[in-house]
Amino acid sequence: MTLYLVVPFLFAIAILQTSAVPHLTVWGVFPDVPVLVVASWGLLRGRREGAIWGLIGGMAVDLLSGLPAGAATLSLIAVGLLSGLAQTSAFRQHGILPVITIFLATIAYDLVTLLILGISGSRVLWLDSLIRIVLPSAVLNGALAPMVYWTMRSLYARFGSDEMGR
């Protein structure tokens, strides 16, 4: 998928995340669609494109978020890289891989975000946040992983044959 499509697509995802998604609360948390999308793409295309999608998606989220500047960008780059690593694993064809990858990617995303919040002077309740936010959020994203991964794979089949940046 070319950058001309990736940039508006990820900005649209970020807008969706700030407008509609917060109303879809389950267990007190709502899905992290940018994490789901970036992790799915990283799984399909590897570390390099995963990181680029993380960079663009993170910048879009940072623009609309109250997080310290760059927090979402760094967190989503980590998600892209981590899921890109899973692409090279021996289980890459296994159906459970997207679920596990996105579960772990969500934890990584939230932990990096909390770390940046802590460094920037915000009050961080590590254990409470881990139990009440991070884990439920990871489980919810993991449950949504097959649906989002399947959608992204269809998108990849349609637009994804081009190398990024062409």
Binding site: V21, D32, S65, L125, D128, R132
Partner: protein, 284 residues
């Protein structure tokens, strides 16, 4: 009789025949013939009339059908328009109720110079992260909004402006973990710090053990620190947690504002916070 002579006499013959017919008709000699002919022709006439009438009705029905179809389309369009109008009016009614409540609240609090009695900030977005609790408003610097201004609804305190742009502003909600507000319970005047929890719930902590707090008591802003006006409603105490070995006790608070359904809020523009928070936007 030659043909020429017959042609000359024909009008007279026709006239004579007509006259004879008239006379015989008048004196009743033709009645049986007429009766027979009528008996034969009446059913034919009736059948013809029936067919013609049916054809006429059919044509009328076709004309009516065309008209009805057109009328039906018009009514369907009208129905759709009215449905949209109902939806729009219901939204207007809902907005009017909210604005009336806000206006009544503003009138009841004349000491606050409230931005929103005329220009109400509309909530246009939430924070994309589960780890933070912000909302985005459609009013900003050009509407007189500045950082740290208190944000309220008629139900109570929502939060404070944490960031301002030209036509937008971001509000840190009191349910965020980095928010802390000096507060007071209404009946016992116990003071503490209202803070958000990671799951979006709210507690009041740092209440001295000697102070009495009870379930159902109302929690207000105390105005201590000068970052928020006094007596803004925060919520109601729903549970008390007291440990003998602790210096302080804490209680869970149910906010009066429904943060999941925020649509319109007001910004108190006439209140100037005394000190700028250091570590967190809402810290006092």
């Amino acid at each position: 009789m030659s043909r020429e002579r017959l042609r000359t006499l024909l009008p007279f013959l026709v006239f004579a025949l007509a006259l004879a017919g008239f006379v015989t008709h008048r004196i009743g000699w033709l009645a049986p013939v007429e009766s027979f002919l009528l008996r034969v022709t009446v059913p034919v006439q009736e059948g013809t009339s029936f067919v013609v009438r049916q054809l006429g009705d059919l044509a009328q029905t076709a004309r009516d059908l065309r008209g009805l179809r057109q009328r039906n389309e018009e009514l369907q369009a009208e129905n759709a328009r009215l449905l949209l109008e109902i939806v729009r009016l219901k939204e207007v009614e809902h907005e009017a109720v909210v604005l009336r409540d806000l206006l009544n609240f503003a009138r009841a609090q004349p000491s606050y110079d409230i931005e929103g009695a005329h220009v109400v900030g509309r909530v246009i977005g939430s924070d994309p992260s589960n780890l933070q609790r912000y909302i985005l408003l459609d009013i900003g610097r050009e509407d007189g909004i500045a950082r740290n201004m208190p944000v309220i609804t008629d139900r109570g305190l929502v939060g404070r402006i944490s960031e301002v742009g030209t036509g937008w502003s971001r509000v840190l909600l009191i349910i965020d973990v980095s928010s802390s507000v000096n507060a007071l319970t209404q009946s016992t005047r116990a003071s503490g710090l209202v803070q958000g929890e990671p799951d979006g719930s709210v507690i009041i902590r740092d209440i001295p053990q000697s102070d009495t707090i009870s379930v159902g008591d109302t929690v207000f802003t105390s105005g201590l620190g000068g970052n928020l006006p006094r007596q803004l409603l925060i919520g109601q105490i729903t549970g008390v947690e007291r440990k003998d070995y602790d210096l302080y006790q804490q209680a869970s608070v149910e906010p009066t504002v429904d943060f999941g359904r925020l649509e319109e809020v007001m910004v108190i523009t006439g209140f100037a916070p005394i000190e700028e928070p250091q570590n967190s936007e809402l810290g006092q």
